[in-house]
Amino acid sequence: MTSMDKKRDSERGVHAVMPRQTAAEEARFEFSKALKTALRNDFKSRLRARYDDIHKPAFEAEAGHAPETADDVDALMSEDTLYQWWSALLRAQQEGYVQNTTLCVERQLDELNEKCRTIAKNPQFGSLRLDRSVAVPYYQKDVDIHCVPGSYFFERSADDVGQGARSDLGAFIFSLGRHGPYNEDKGLCGVKFIEDRFPDLKPRRILDMGCTVGQSTLPYVTAFPDAEVHAIDLAAPCLRYGHARAESLGKAVHFSQANAEQTTFPDGSFDLVVSHIMLHEISLNALNNILRECHRLLRPGGVMLHVEVPIRPQGVYERFMANWDSANNNEPFWRTLAELDLITAAENAGFPREAVFETITDTAFAKAGGWLVFGARKMDAAS
């Protein structure tokens, strides 16, 4: 790595397999971030003003009551010219950022693949186990989440890490750098929640489900140095890259390709099972299967923890806005999850209702709205 690369990486975390940026690529990413910031802040607040000042009073005058559902607000705002342009600009911004991060990765993909192959041949800390028999379920296969062509799965060659590398680079830009230099905010918040709420839990085996490239997995390795940490995902390119990334950062994680709905780990083999922003990218059936699988995998007294985006907006306007990504950025399950009774879902999976929790935690960095944490403790054999 040249000194120039180091300089460009000064804001984000540096590791051996992170895609490098040329000056031109960095300029495109900075534009993308500035545009998104403007759309998400000033522009968005003026949409709210138009709703409050124009559309809501007009609806009330005609209907005799305020808009009651997110669909009511949608019907009003979809006709608003400023909202239409805001949405078109936001979609164009997303597509531009995805294309530019993809091109940046593809430019250096041979080198990235080779680096990851070399690391995989002689791992120093963890391991990588791929299983070609793991099928990609329809809820991931039939839609490219976040409008990324090829999603997490597309392979350009036998040992391709491209979609994983793009995910690692893209996450930092998508989050405007507000989730930490290694995009580790979710993992750090999960760790802190566990330490605060379950100080007696000293996990010896931890499983991270839907780990993608392991950004959220690594804080658990740091926080629980005596634990054996496993991470599973459906996507081979992400697992290959995530393994090389973890090795280059000196973190021991055992990555394997598996569907979180049904893994091959034995019953009661983990003290802590976690996931991070996985639940909103699955389906209702998958969610129920995964909660049951968490229950099966936990030993008595073990804890399940899912860290999610704060999906419970309060007012109808906020709910309408929260649905934007579900409708327009290929997050089809988001809207369903936002309305779901997770407490009952966990109870149905075998957890005692009184042991289930759902709350909001603070960000460790600068993420707006913090994170939703949902989970449960499996009943101890003695209790």
Binding site: M4, A23, I54, S87, G96, F154
Partner: protein, 117 residues
């Protein structure tokens, strides 16, 4: 890349159209791509000017290796914010009739008042 399968160019899933017609949507996407490339040109010119100010003669490698100072980065961030604000200026205006025509009516009223002796 060598001998690699080409990744798909378009994501699976519906592509929403927000504007009144799809051609406007296409044109907007192209304009934003050009706007993004303007930021690349700005980077090159800024880099060129800064290197030229420090060295009477320099190579392409000097340009590529030039490290921006924290002050230069801060100046760029300020430029970028101003650039995006200028790009989106038109949206500060209300061009539709969302205010019930109040602004147009007020202007007409102003003209009439000014025309009175």
């Amino acid at each position: 890349m060598s001998d690699l399968k080409k990744a798909p160019a378009v994501p699976l899933g519906a592509r929403p159209v927000f504007l009144k017609n799809a051609d406007d949507e296409r044109l907007l996407a192209m304009i934003m791509a050009v706007a993004s490339e303007v930021s690349v040109l700005y980077d090159r010119i800024d880099r060129l000017e800064r290197v030229a100010a420090e060295k009477p003669s320099f190579s392409l490698d000097d340009l590529a290796a030039y490290e921006l100072t924290p002050d230069a980065r801060a100046a760029r961030a300020e430029w970028m914010q101003g650039y995006v604000t200028r790009l989106l200026r038109i949206f500060q205006e209300t061009l539709d009739d969302a205010d019930g025509g109040a602004r147009t009516a007020a202007y007409k009223d102003l003209m009439e008042r000014m025309a009175k002796p």
